[in-house]
Symmetry: C2
């Protein structure tokens, strides 16, 4: 039985301010909760009896068995699905030195929660462990972002910081970005370390950050003389760039 | 001044059934309406006086000047933006023979309107003019799809049809698809014509269709022995595959 207070608590986590105060986030659906379980401390698990009966060894600080109807009252999804969990936000050590040894992503004010979630999933696929986000980037624990990561949040670490300070502190590390007037990515030498900066959906990379980018790339359209869209979606551009960096290493 | 009936008419176009009856669709925002104008017949244009004053030569069967407040009542967006247009759905000639001469996409029950819109934008970027959709694929004139295309809908033609019949009718044409047990795309020969089939978000390509695919591809993750997400988002996979097909031709 789910108390009114618990429902209120769960639904309050839709707000970034509340998530920060509580250092918590919500994940829903059997698949996603299963993928995150074991990677994050589960503070509260709300599930139907049928889900609980098939997961007898599940570990959580508190488990509440509910009817589908009660679950609907707490859920943020249009179609609630058997289980909802409140997890503790992890505390990742800020590690700019990772950029020297491995390929990392930086996001400069990515706004859309779905785009961020998709980018986290792309990073996971291509073995990118760290994403550095400007403070204007949407919160990684936004429920829509969490859902869109499809579990990749368990393996990719996000660090919110000032990108200008971060990049300025880097020495002898390539900093890549995509620009409509950049160099054809397929003709450029790419590396297995460094930072790839992706920008805001509408405005691209900010002026301050773009001045610190020393490797300007472009994803060529095809055929190159044909009228086309002005740009690609930021998650799509991220995927094409990451795929090409990794192809070179295969 | 926007009548109650007009508001009702506009909002009714959120429903696929109504869009089909009326052979119409909605687009919103100055950028999107501007991109589609001239490519589709505009049946109704609803705009603020400031927008209209900067677009004196705009052509529409009917133009209604409204206040921002009136626009909000008709708009499907959370943040309505100066202009909303109702366009006529185009009648594209069904042309399976295009698959013989050019690269085309087929979508097998893609469900999410945002994914479809993003895929249309990707197709536009890579010069793919025709997308063949299974009847279970979300409607291309869904307002969320239209918004996500960012204008690419003006250049890419969508055809809803039975994919099994379509593919069965093709002769000597490569039919590609992505599968988790497919062959590494970077080791395979790709072509400048044929069909690339992408599947449903949860279930991938249906069994019936997958039996007709003669070139099974796989986008390798990196590093290949690392635990990762089970799959990529369908729009993301589409973009990586299309980019690789086009890279070979550069």
């Amino acid at each position: 039985m789910l108390s009114k207070n618990k429902i209120k608590y769960i639904r309050s986590l839709e707000l970034k301010k509340k998530r920060k105060e509580e250092q918590a986030f919500i994940a829903e659906s059997p698949k996603l909760v299963g993928d995150l379980m074991g990677h994050f401390t589960c503070k509260l698990l709300v599930a139907t009896s049928s889900w609980l009966s098939t997961h007898p060894h599940i570990q959580a600080e508190e488990i509440v068995e509910v009817s589908q109807d009660e679950l609907s009252r707490a859920s943020l999804l249009k179609t609630p699905q058997e289980v909802l969990a409140v997890f503790e936000q992890p505390k990742h050590t800020f590690c700019p030195e990772a950029i020297k040894d491995s390929l990392c992503l930086a996001l400069d004010d990515v706004q859309d929660p779905g785009n961020l979630g998709t980018i986290i999933r792309i990073a996971d696929w291509f073995g990118i462990e760290h994403i550095f986000c400007s403070s204007g980037t949407v919160d990684a624990y936004n429920p829509k972002t969490v859902q869109a990561t499809m579990g990749a949040l368990a393996r990719v670490k996000l660090h919110y910081c000032d990108l200008v300070s971060l990049i300025s502190s880097l020495k002898d590390v390539p900093v890549f970005g995509t620009f409509l007037d950049g160099d054809n990515i397929y003709n450029e030498s790419l590396s297995s370390n460094g930072l790839i900066v992706m920008g805001n959906e509408g405005n691209g990379v900010s002026r301050e950050v773009s001045e610190l980018i020393n490797r300007r790339l472009y994803i060529p359209n095809y055929p190159q003389d044909r009228e086309t869209s002005e740009s690609l979606n930021v998650a799509v551009a991220t995927s094409i760039v990451c795929a090409e960096f990794r192809r070179r290493l295969l």
